[in-house]
């Protein structure tokens, strides 16, 4: 027997396998614990003075923005402050932040949607502070700063703009406002995203409800839209693809995504409904319990400065996120997009934050399914 002969060949060395096995396990385990126990910060325990920033321990940014990698790299290069990035979807960032609870590893959270950010503030997770660079904000930008100053906008995109395929304009012409989409002539032509998967889509369904007069009116509108054979896709990308390929004619999506697709050569046009589109600010909040608040404040200040804005506007033009409306004075987009000439509706943030879970579940049960 093969194994048996192996065995008798080195039968006397009983110590060797024992050593190999136990060393291997012990090494692995100690390495894990040892690596874990290296101090990650120099200021633990007592509350750090809010305005000091240790450049080497730096800060950690949790972000869902397309330009976050460019921004954190540039910030680190310009200031020498170590900046670590976790780039993930907004949903995963929320899960991470919630699971970390009172022992947070994030210093700055940066994603689209003030309703979502407000819910973090409502849970007491955000630092209330006054950024000196808030004075750089335009009046539109200032309108997104909450009264307790717990987060700041870095730019605005809108939802509710209607993408259409320029090659297949229907005989009935183009719709001018949301209610026009209920026209039987547009049966089977309209598409949008699922709020369960697409971050900008809850603000969309909340905003349309607000424009139409309230949650009930919103639900009624989407039920009628469904009766007109609305089609739901997961996110901006598949919805736009369906419009690009002509499978659908209209897509209610984030306007920055439409501009990105137009830049990529897709045959798309954009309609801003007359009753307005919903402003969706990219917002930055600082962890209330973080250990690098000084660095975090410097980062937010930097994003609100022309240096930070310049990195964002010069980001990859095929990335939709680059097509934001600046909210810092003196900043103009490098890419071409319409920045004015349409009303921007701002959400009643506390109200829509309060009904988010219920409204989304209703939408899933009644519209998506």
């Amino acid at each position: 027997m093969h194994a048996q002969s192996d065995f008798s060949m080195c039968g006397r060395r009983t110590m060797r396998p024992f050593l190999i096995f136990s060393l291997l396990f012990l090494l692995g385990f100690l390495a894990a614990c040892g690596g874990g126990s290296t101090p990650t910060t120099s200021t633990s325990g007592s509350t750090p003075s809010a305005l000091t920033c240790n450049k080497s321990s730096g800060l950690t940014v949790y972000s869902a923005q397309g330009y976050d990698s460019d921004a954190t790299k540039a910030f680190q290069q310009q200031t020498g402050i170590t900046t670590k990035l976790v780039d993930d979807s907004t949903g995963n960032i929320l899960a991470k932040i919630a699971a970390e609870g009172s022992n947070p590893h994030w210093d700055v959270a940066w994603f689209d949607g003030n309703v979502t950010m407000q819910s973090l503030d409502d849970q007491g997770l955000l630092l209330k502070w006054h950024s000196p660079n808030a004075s750089n904000l335009t009046s539109l930008g200032t309108s997104y700063v909450p009264s307790d100053a717990s987060y700041y906008p870095s730019g605005v995109t809108t939802v509710g703009a209607i993408a259409y395929n320029t090659k297949h304009v229907p005989a009935a012409g183009l719709p001018k406002d949301y209610r026009d989409l209920l026209n039987p002539a547009y049966k089977n032509l309209v598409s949008m995203n699922d709020p369960a998967f697409s971050g900008p889509t809850y603000p969309l369904i909340a905003g349309i409800a607000q424009i139409l007069g309230g949650e009930d009116q919103g639900k009624q509108f989407f039920s009628q839209l469904k009766a007109n054979r609305l089609k739901i896709f997961q996110t901006n990308d598949p919805t736009l693809s369906s419009v690009e390929t002509g499978a659908r004619e209209f897509g209610l999506v984030q306007d920055s995504a439409i501009y990105g697709a137009i830049k990529a050569g897709q045959p798309l046009g954009i309609i801003y409904p007359t009753s307005g589109v919903i402003g969706l600010p990219a917002v930055m909040g600082i962890s209330a319990h973080g250990q690098h608040q000084g660095c975090a404040q410097q980062f937010v200040n930097w994003v609100l400065s022309s240096a930070g804005q310049s990195v964002m506007t010069h980001h990859d033009p095929t990335d939709g996120d680059t097509y934001f409306i600046p909210v810092v004075t003196g900043v103009t987009p490098v890419v071409s997009r319409q920045t004015s000439g349409f009303p921007i509706v701002n959400l009643d943030v506390p109200k829509w934050a309060g009904v988010e879970a219920e409204y989304k579940q209703w939408f899933h049960q009644n519209i998506v399914l």
Partner: protein, 626 residues
């Protein structure tokens, strides 16, 4: 096929292990032996406890103790979440939907896997020699790629649609639970294939011959005699397929989003991904999945209790190959179709997309490009670092898990330690829990405030946010698979062999390292490869747990997909797939070379294989056949 209760060797085995554990005197020799046993049994159990049980408990317990990890932690129990789960009728229908969807998936996987296994092992099918390799390739292709690729194949206005013009009914048919079941069964049939191949090794032709003498035709003897005899092997693997389908979220979300079907995993996902995040609800919903797995285990046990599946008598006759005759080509075509659907089309679609500028423009001469590859390669340092990190993590995970899985399997199968049955069930439950739940459990468990007071250094245990936690999560995530695979291999080793070793004075450690390890080396190598490739494409844990600034390869791939950069995303996927294929080829080539060298030196040595084989994961015995 011998179910456990038919194994006469079990008591002997139990006694012998018990005597290993009972140490009468305390001489140095015995002390060392005892220490060795403690290490061999204790360390793997400790790893399982620390890396799987503790994190899973950290989140599941929140279904009853919602404030366990709140800013002011308390053990105040609350039944709110459970109440919410069990009073909402949507959750019942979600549980039902999850059950039937994964049930049909497991059934289909069982049919396809069994069919292919029989064709490969018992017929003169032309494809049979490369079947194993093809099945392994299916195993290795990540399911998120298969799902993404198939949805792009069937998208209205997509490249295939431009020339084939799919009918509406076909598309409606595909973007429904039908499509989900289709993709999930393509992904899981290899479990059944491997399991049944192993079982077929012990199924001689004597029952068949008896049936033939009684006048049955070949196909009849297979359907009514051999197929039922293979049932334990089929059920064992179908359970894994079921658990995988139960925990699936991505495929259902991509394919069947608009169909009138809510799954448990969807409910879990929305509880975790919507502000304010509700972990206690997600944990309570996960209990539904536990319920589903328990139901499935009961069904399995009930089925196996009805009769004996014993075929191994010590006088087994060699199996005969069936000549397919006129059926040869239809059967080949059918096999080809399976691999066309599971491998060629999805991978081909990915490859195509990685070579195109814009998906919407279709296949035109101007649309071909290598830019995507150039883009991801010149992006250079970031991707290269991510790749190195991922390979390192995958190699370490595979090594640790392979070494640790064997002792745990040994505990489950060959000792009388209390709770081993629970341990066995636990491994299956872990497979059925969605990755995102386990990942959140890791955050709670290893970022808990109380860890400040534990351990070494100023800050106590700071595990979360380091690469070590990701490694731990990979290990924890793949340990259940490795354990179940090792059980299969272990069941093939006769107790008499182990008894002999013990009589000659081998201790537990020597037994594992000197005897079981070498015999199962090809089995272990396969487990290593399986875990390695699985880790190379691990997404759920990576996304939530990767250390800030240090993403892994799959995180970068989905990052590209999320930024709507389909081409570069596919290019990066293809590079990753290429690396895994390279590993597969190396793994096939190296043992082959080694075994040739060994064979040249010693002709007559054949590895001992027992005549005892049990139900459960005979499995990947066949894994050894890689």
């Amino acid at each position: 096929m011998v179910p456990p209760k038919h194994r006469p060797v079990e008591p002997v085995q139990a006694r012998s292990t018990a005597s290993w554990l009972a140490v009468p005197s305390l001489s140095f020799q015995r002390l060392r032996r005892r220490l060795g046993q403690a290490l061999v049994i204790g360390i793997p159990l400790l790893l399982l406890l620390v890396f799987v049980v503790y994190p899973l408990a950290a989140i599941i317990l929140q279904s009853v103790f919602p404030s366990l990890y709140a800013s002011s932690p308390s053990l105040l129990p609350s039944l709110d979440a459970l109440h919410q789960v069990f009073t909402n009728p949507i959750n019942y229908s979600a549980l039902l939907n999850s059950l039937w969807l994964s049930g049909i998936t497991a059934l289909l996987a069982a049919l396809v896997g069994t069919f292919l296994a029989i064709l490969a092992r018992r017929t003169d099918l032309p494809l049979r020699r490369i079947m194993d390799t093809l099945v392994w390739m299916v195993f290795f292709t990540p399911s998120f790629l298969i799902g993404e690729a198939w949805s792009l194949v069937f998208i209205r206005g997509g490249i295939p649609d431009q020339s084939l013009h799919f009918s509406d009914s076909l598309l409606t048919w595909f973007f429904s639970p039908v499509g989900v079941i289709f993709i999930l069964s393509l992904k899981t049939f290899p479990y059944v294939y491997i399991s049944v191949c192993a079982a077929l090794r012990w199924l001689g032709s004597e029952f068949e011959d008896a049936a033939r003498i009684a006048g049955a035709r070949t196909w009849r003897s297979w359907v009514s005699i051999n197929a039922p005899l293979l049932l334990p092997a089929i059920l064992a693997a179908a359970l894994i397929a079921l658990a995988e389908a139960l925990s699936d979220f991505g495929t259902a979300a991509t394919i069947a989003q608009n169909s009138n079907v809510t799954l448990v995993t969807y409910q879990i996902y929305t509880a975790i991904n919507t502000a304010p995040v509700n972990f206690s609800l997600a944990a309570a919903l996960s209990l539904l999945l536990f319920l589903a797995i328990t139901l499935a285990l009961l069904v399995q046990a009930g089925t196996l209790r009805t009769r004996s599946f014993q075929v191994i008598s010590g006088r087994n006759r060699p199996a005969r190959s069936i000549s397919l005759g006129g059926w040869k080509w239809p059967a080949t075509a059918l096999c080809g179709l399976v691999f066309l659907l599971a491998l060629v089309i999805p991978l081909g679609m990915c490859l195509l997309l990685s070579l195109l500028h814009a998906f919407g423009l279709g296949i035109t001469p101007a649309n071909w490009t290598l830019d995507n590859y150039q883009a991801v390669l010149t992006q250079g340092s970031d991707d290269l670092a991510a790749l190195q990190r991922t390979v390192l993590l995958a190699v370490t995970t595979a090594t640790v898990v392979t070494l640790v899985g064997l002792p745990i399997a040994f505990i489950i199968r060959r000792t009388t330690l209390p709770g081993r049955g629970l341990l066995s069930m636990f491994t299956l439950v872990t497979i059925a829990v969605p990755g995102i739940i386990l990942a959140c459990g890791y955050i709670f468990a290893w970022n808990a405030p109380y860890l400040q007071y534990v351990g070494i250094g100023n800050n106590g245990v700071q595990f979360y946010g380091t690469i070590w936690l990701l490694l731990a999560a990979y290990i924890g995530g793949s340990l259940p698979y490795a354990t179940r695979l090792s059980i299969g291999g272990l069941d093939q080793i006769g107790s008499s062999l182990l008894e002999t070793a013990r009589v000659q004075g081998a201790n537990l450690l020597q037994l594992l390292v000197r005897i079981i390890g070498p015999i199962l080396r090809s089995n272990l190598a396969s487990i290593w490869l399986l875990v390695f490739t699985g880790s190379m494409f691990e997404l759920a844990a990576s996304e939530l747990l990767y250390p800030p600034g240090q993403p892994t390869m799959p995180v970068r791939i989905t990052g590209l997909f999320n930024d709507f950069k389909l081409g570069p995303g596919m290019a990066l996927s293809m590079l990753n797939v290429g690396i895994v294929l390279l590993a597969l080829i190396l793994f096939r080539a190296v043992p082959l070379l080694i075994s040739q060298v060994i064979q040249r030196r010693t002709r007559s040595k054949t590895p001992y294989v027992s005549t005892h084989q049990t139900t459960e994961q005979e499995l990947r015995v066949a894994t050894g056949r890689l």
